[in-house]
């Protein structure tokens, strides 16, 4: 590990020895990985393998039993979510739960109200609604169709997922973690979101994607991390990883059914 540090630049995110248990269940166990700036890391693994728990640990929604999370060399282990966001990490949720009775664009007011955005805009928020509408347009809410003004409760799943993505983007993060953004979406919907993520990557954002849709993921991922029972069973380039017998056993075995 030390040797790699010398050659490459310091990683944006470094997770070492991370462990989390819930009662008897070990959700994440002794996990180590690094993520250089500007890369897109795919995290895959069967259901219940601890992917969401990993996201929760990094973003401060749960505290680890052991281990360390460093972001830009700073120890952020056990920080509360709002401080983690302040450092520049934002996330989406696997199960989207917007403010249903608010219009879609008003859903973005909350992240736009956060101290991080205030700091980055130099204390001038401007008109948050206008910023929100622009953001929604960026993630594919057609402006002339007035989807942005519809109540979030009336929107189909595809738009809710985009809204979730927009919420994470509103915080202007350096690292953005997407927890199964594509689940529950049709092929066409996925195809329309992929370019948005590619664009984020071009802007230099670092991204972690938790995904079950391997084909789409492998097209855009720089590297893949495979979890099973909370343990890292493989890491590396997508093509290499899928050749590993452990991964075939754990992952493809369960996908077959």
């Amino acid at each position: 590990m030390g040797g790699r540090d010398m050659t490459a630049q310091a990683p944006l995110l470094r997770v070492s020895n991370l462990t989390k248990t819930f009662g008897g269940v070990t959700a994440v166990s002794n996990l180590d990985f690094e993520l250089p700036e500007g890369k897109l890391l795919g995290v895959i693994g069967p259901n219940g393998s601890g992917k969401t728990t990993l996201v929760n640990l990094i973003t401060g929604f749960t505290r680890p039993v052991a281990g360390r999370i460093e972001f830009r060399g700073r120890d952020v282990t056990g920080w509360p979510p709002h401080r983690v966001v302040g450092e520049g990490i934002s996330r989406t949720f696997q199960m989207v739960r917007p403010f249903y009775q608010l219009p879609a664009y008003k859903n973005l007011i909350v992240p736009l109200y956060s101290p991080r955005v205030k700091k980055l805009t130099g204390g001038r928020y401007g008109d948050r609604s206008a910023v929100a509408l622009d953001l929604l347009e960026e993630v594919g809410f057609e402006r002339d169709a007035y989807v942005s003004y519809k109540k979030a409760g009336a929107l189909p799943q595809g738009y809710l997922k985009r809204l979730e993505l927009a919420k994470a983007m509103a915080l202007r993060p350096d690292l953005i973690i997407l927890d199964e953004l594509f689940s529950g979406l049709s092929l066409a919907e996925v195809a329309s979101i992929v370019p948005i993520i590619e664009k984020l990557k071009h802007q230099g954002k670092t991204i972690i994607m938790i995904e079950h849709r391997l084909k789409e993921l492998f097209r855009i991922a720089d590297g893949v991390l495979v979890l099973n029972y909370g343990r890292k069973i493989a890491e590396g380039l997508a093509a290499e990883v899928m050749k590993s017998p452990a991964v075939r056993d754990a992952y493809l075995g369960s996908e077959g059914d």
């Binding site: 929604f61 509360p80 709002h82 966001v85 739960r97 917007p98 992240p111 956060s114």
Partner: protein
Amino acid sequence: MKKRKERIDRGIKVRAQDIFALTSYREMLYLLVPGAIPVVGLLCFAPMLSNYWREVIISTAIYALLAISWDMLMCAGLLSLGQSLFFGIGSYLAGSLNHYLGLPPILTIPLATIGGGLICTLLLLPVLRLRGIYFAMVTLVLPLMLSRLVEATRILGGTEGLTGLTPFPNQLTAVFLIQIVLLVTLFGFRRIKGSDYGLVITGISDNDRSVMSAGINIQWYKAQVVFLGASVGSFAGAFGTHMDMFAGMPGFALDYSIMPVAAAVVGGVGTFFGPLIGAFILVPLSEALRALGALRIVFYGLFLVIFVVGIPEGIFPYIQRKYQQVERWVDVT
């Protein structure tokens, strides 16, 4: 043939809400009248009433303040079953400042309002990290225990309380003071709720997870809301103390906790107008039913259950709907 009720927003409501294109005095009036009703009603009619009814108005206003304060907490998902905590702390603070330091009401009331807000916020700070019912449990328990603290340690006058406090110069001053505060609180809180800040607050009660992931420190915001609510409640307590010239254990009594909840639920939670209306229905009603004794509380209890279960939106949203929407029956094919 089956019929279905269809509701459509009145054109003027749509225009007023989104594009602010008002075209006539009639439309301006349409918007201004509802807000003007409580203002005119409170400020103009109160002086014409008899002394007895002014008393009733004052105690109604006290409960209305507590109910509005309750509603503010509810916006952030904090269910308080102990508005008497705020009332009692405000009451004892104002009472002590007056009794021990000899400060006049013009100083004790503002000091007790701010101080009470701070003390209550500090007391409740640890619970803010927990989910809803812990807040309900702790707020219910705290005032009752604090009144025993006073009883056991005999501080602050013990069971007798602090008596002979400075009264208001005259009843009319008191009436105007509390009504102005009531109106300022009402419109102020409505304004807060309508702002982006209010969106964050209601977001916390809706889905705290989402607000946390938006980089907002929800504990800090909840604390601010508790401070707002507790200050208003403490004001009610401080005011009541100078009104009765007495601060004592009754300030922590359950009445001050139950009535505001009932009023807010009956009137309509989350609207601030609702709790006001609720208080103006329930308090005079309970005055009229004085002869029934304990049965009044039975009624409040039942009102609470019936409204929570059967009519959860309350009275105010119903009125609002009638005012802002036209209804018509349409055929269902």
